[in-house]
Symmetry: C2
Subunit: 338 residues, 2 copies
Amino acid sequence: MARRNANGRAAVTISHVAEASGVSRATVSRVVNGNASVKPEIAERVRSEIARLGYEPSPVAQSLSLGRTSTVGMVVPDLGNPTFQSILHGVNQAAASAGYRVLVADSGESDVDEPAIVEDLRRRTDAVIVCSPRMSAESLNAVIPRVVPAVVVNRDEPVPAARVVVDYAAGIVALGRHLVDLGHRRILHLDGPPGSNAQAARAVGLATLAHTYPDLVVLREPCGATIAAGEAAFERARASGATAVIGFNDLVALGLMGRAAEHGWRVPDDVSIAGFDDIPFAHLSRPGLTTVHVALESVGEAAWGALSHQFAEAVGADFRSFTPVLVVRGSTGPALPG
Amino acid sequence: MARRNANGRAAVTISHVAEASGVSRATVSRVVNGNASVKPEIAERVRSEIARLGYEPSPVAQSLSLGRTSTVGMVVPDLGNPTFQSILHGVNQAAASAGYRVLVADSGESDVDEPAIVEDLRRRTDAVIVCSPRMSAESLNAVIPRVVPAVVVNRDEPVPAARVVVDYAAGIVALGRHLVDLGHRRILHLDGPPGSNAQAARAVGLATLAHTYPDLVVLREPCGATIAAGEAAFERARASGATAVIGFNDLVALGLMGRAAEHGWRVPDDVSIAGFDDIPFAHLSRPGLTTVHVALESVGEAAWGALSHQFAEAVGADFRSFTPVLVVRGSTGPALPG
DNA sequence: CTATACTGCGAGATCGGTTTCTCGCGGCGA
DNA sequence: TCGCCGCGAGAAACCGATCTCGCAGTATAG
């Protein structure tokens, strides 16, 4: 049975072209790929038949024959999160310029489903980028060797694959230093999701800060990663007595700032507020949000770079770290005396 | 040559399982797919060999054999745009629950490349979702019949495929009515990208408004679709003498509001400002941004729904329209008397 | 003038599955 | 006891490409 597309037209294959041109399939393949030498006269005839029939090679058949799909997979915990969207955008841009497509999978924040999703995706693609995996270190170490070439984004522990990370700890240290310089000695950090790698890194950075400045009091309060979480943390933030608050990310910080404005808690006169990520809206608030800029699209590009590197040579695990940079805007100011 | 994965381990194929179990490949296939009858004893033996060898069928080979990839493609003008990210998220969610994956392609806002991208993507997938295509109506009408099943999102002219649209015109009318009710008689609309479908729909809505309220003056000013464009439009907005300004989207409106705050143009006392889309940040500004809510994830789900409908029966073009709803916040208020 | 090299192309294997066709074998009715 | 039916499983075709191998035919050297 001739395979037909949904139009009812039979799809035109290499055999049709071969028959129409009076040559073998091998020759058509040679003409299409331009590798071996074909007599110009025949090549021309084949080309004209290709044009007449509207032939295009089937990527699926090519994939099977070549053992290569020209596609890479990317697994993210939640496509709805702007962070992962930015990274995906970066990956997609870089991959597209190398003729690769990106297959996306959303693990729905499920740590147990993740290994299976990664493996399944890898079977359809030439490599996988595992972004901020929620799975345990053991699962990660078990699954990664089965799916190389692979790149892991935003996991701080070593894994048997290339790794691209954002140095959240350094970012939080830079931010803390800025606040200390402004005279703040009682700083509150609104924590993100407990299990997340980013949160663990923040905790490390905060500990470093506390160690560096003995007279600094670093408070922490469970919060979350959303605007709503930031809003909900308002009362606890005010009650903490901190003169400066760092949100887990910009969403949290902006949520908090919104509530502060409603309740007459002036920023930065009564309290300094800072965020993390430098999303496009961070500079739009009144006052503008002091935050830490993370070049997420570059992270995506770096992830692709690590993959293409593995395509070229079967080299093992390399490592790329992005250091965020402090962006000072109006939401942080001198601590109130006393 | 045995195909090997990047680990150097030979990939285990159906032939290996067949040989290890002492049966034919056909029987292994039958066991895996559970279709035809296989003697329980043999089936069990095959299953245990599958488990022992860690066999999993190759999706690529299945795709070739079955003529089905269990993947749908989605083409967007710019993955960096939150609008498309939300739609993608909706599509991905819905497709995943039906066992389908989503292959994304970013056309880079290029109207000329789009048809080729769509066709290429379709060759790798079972269907395509073409989102806010920038290509001309002729190109669209030429390419769509070649790639069915297909769904076109956000194009108002009829196309030979299923269509999912957001009724931008109705949204702008609702917004305009709200402003008129507040006493505004001179309204400025900051236009979006000239070629875009959304912009054309806005123009239609604005014309309807002008026709409905004869004493209403509707001004338009070229602007764009970004925060920066909104900021850049500030001087022209103030010079226009309008008492209310509608941004092409929330980004534009928020950009404008930022500049207004800097220059002491009070919102909503001196000017009312409204946006479009109701992005998550719209309620965070001071005052909160009046806007029109568009259920983008539902749009994505509807696009998938239209596809799966076409998978089931080879039915032609159905149509889904989403009507945005007005969300009134603090950025719009009564017009100044006089 | 023959032996050798090279060029251009086709036959056929291969990738890893699914599916149709066929065949052997056992049970059952006449 | 013979023949028919049906079940279970293998052989082989097929999906649509790539690629190796070898065979003609021609050019070149000895």
